[in-house]
Amino acid sequence: MTLDELPRGDRAVVTALDIRGGARRRLMDLGLLPGAAVHAELTSPLGDPTAYDVRGALVVLRRDQARAVHVEPEDR
């Protein structure tokens, strides 16, 4: 599943980044590496973007960016 599909309030672990070059580095700069734990925290009242908790920091990603992040959801 990709990060944009993660329901609000759920946790997951990043498995892969489906994007190359500078954009990939930017995601890594934000802490999104394979193995990192994420938590879909808040969604904007207008629907997009969504704020994800990555190791304590709230990182905001638009849907098209979140789509590049593959995750494995945690079992409830």
Partner: protein, 283 residues
């Protein structure tokens, strides 16, 4: 140019207005030309400190704390980005501090990263002071590691420890120091916390004859390791005194334009020229 150097109100800082006796002509001479080319004027200082760090780490606060707000905005050759430079004296010695643009890495993704890298690589400052945010360590460390791969003359200012305390975050400074191999000083620059220790660390790194070697990153990919090792051998053969052949080899494998240009025009060899410690020449 008898500008009295502002002194931080802490530590063993002295009010000596003329510390190094006009060092523009002494130890920094080989690098003075290079520094001047980059738009920096070493002036009457004995040591040059480059201030690096991610954006939003309180870097400017550290800068202001060290220089006492005395900064003039310098212009970088060829770029319209204005950078702050300042100075301070400590232990009877003058230090020039250059505030590099806040960057997440040195991988040439933007003009800012190019500037920062050029200074660190070709300007070869005596000390690179990296400011990191104690509440965001995992995000700030990639830059520190990249800098550590280039040089061993590094001091890490673990800033915003007051924020970290407030958020219930604790950082094991000893462990971090061991892992990075360079002094890590906890600071809360906006309160003046940790500055005496920071100054002492800067002095220690600037004056040491035996800095830690550049950090070696081990790749878990055997193919890559083989390629790096092979190329590093060739780099070492061509530039025998270069301390960080692996790093150069990695950059060449990546196709880094800056490093390729340096190989082509031979300036990479300049990186290999041994540094003359300022202290040696001063006496």
């Amino acid at each position: 140019m008898a500008t009295p150097l502002p002194t931080p109100g802490v530590g063993r800082a002295s009010a000596d207005p003329d510390p190094g006796g006009g060092c523009a002509s002494c130890a920094l001479a080989p690098d003075a030309a290079r520094l001047a080319r980059l738009g920096l004027d070493p002036g009457r200082y004995s040591y040059v400190v480059a201030l690096a760090g991610n954006p939003n780490t309180g870097k400017s606060t550290v800068f202001n704390a060290l220089t006492g707000l005395r900064q003039h905005v310098g212009n970088w050759a060829g770029k319209t980005v204005a950078r702050a430079e300042g100075g301070f004296s400590y232990g009877g010695v003058g230090y020039r501090i250059i505030d590099l643009p806040g960057t997440y890495s040195l991988l040439s993704a933007s003009a800012d990263e190019d500037i920062a890298r050029d200074v660190l690589l070709f300007g070869r400052p005596d000390v690179t002071l990296v400011v990191v945010d104690a509440t965001r360590l995992e995000r700030n460390l990639p830059l520190v590691l990249q800098i550590r791969q280039i040089t061993g003359r590094v001091v890490v200012a673990l800033n915003l420890v007051d924020e970290a305390r407030r958020h219930g975050i604790t950082v094991d400074v000893r462990h971090l120091t061991r892992e990075l191999g360079v002094p890590v000083v906890a600071t809360a620059a906006r309160r003046g916390e940790g500055l005496p220790d920071l100054l002492a660390a800067i002095e220690q790194v600037a004056t040491t004859d035996d800095p830690p070697p550049p950090m070696r990153l081990v790749h878990h990919d055997p193919e890559l390791e083989r390629a790096v090792a092979a190329l590093a051998e060739q780099v070492a053969a061509r530039f025998p005194t270069l301390p960080n052949t692996r790093w150069v080899a990695l950059r060449l494998l990546e196709g880094d334009p800056g490093i390729e240009a340096a190989v082509r025009d031979g300036t990479l060899g300049d990186l290999a020229a041994p540094r003359v410690a300022a202290a040696e020449v001063q006496g």
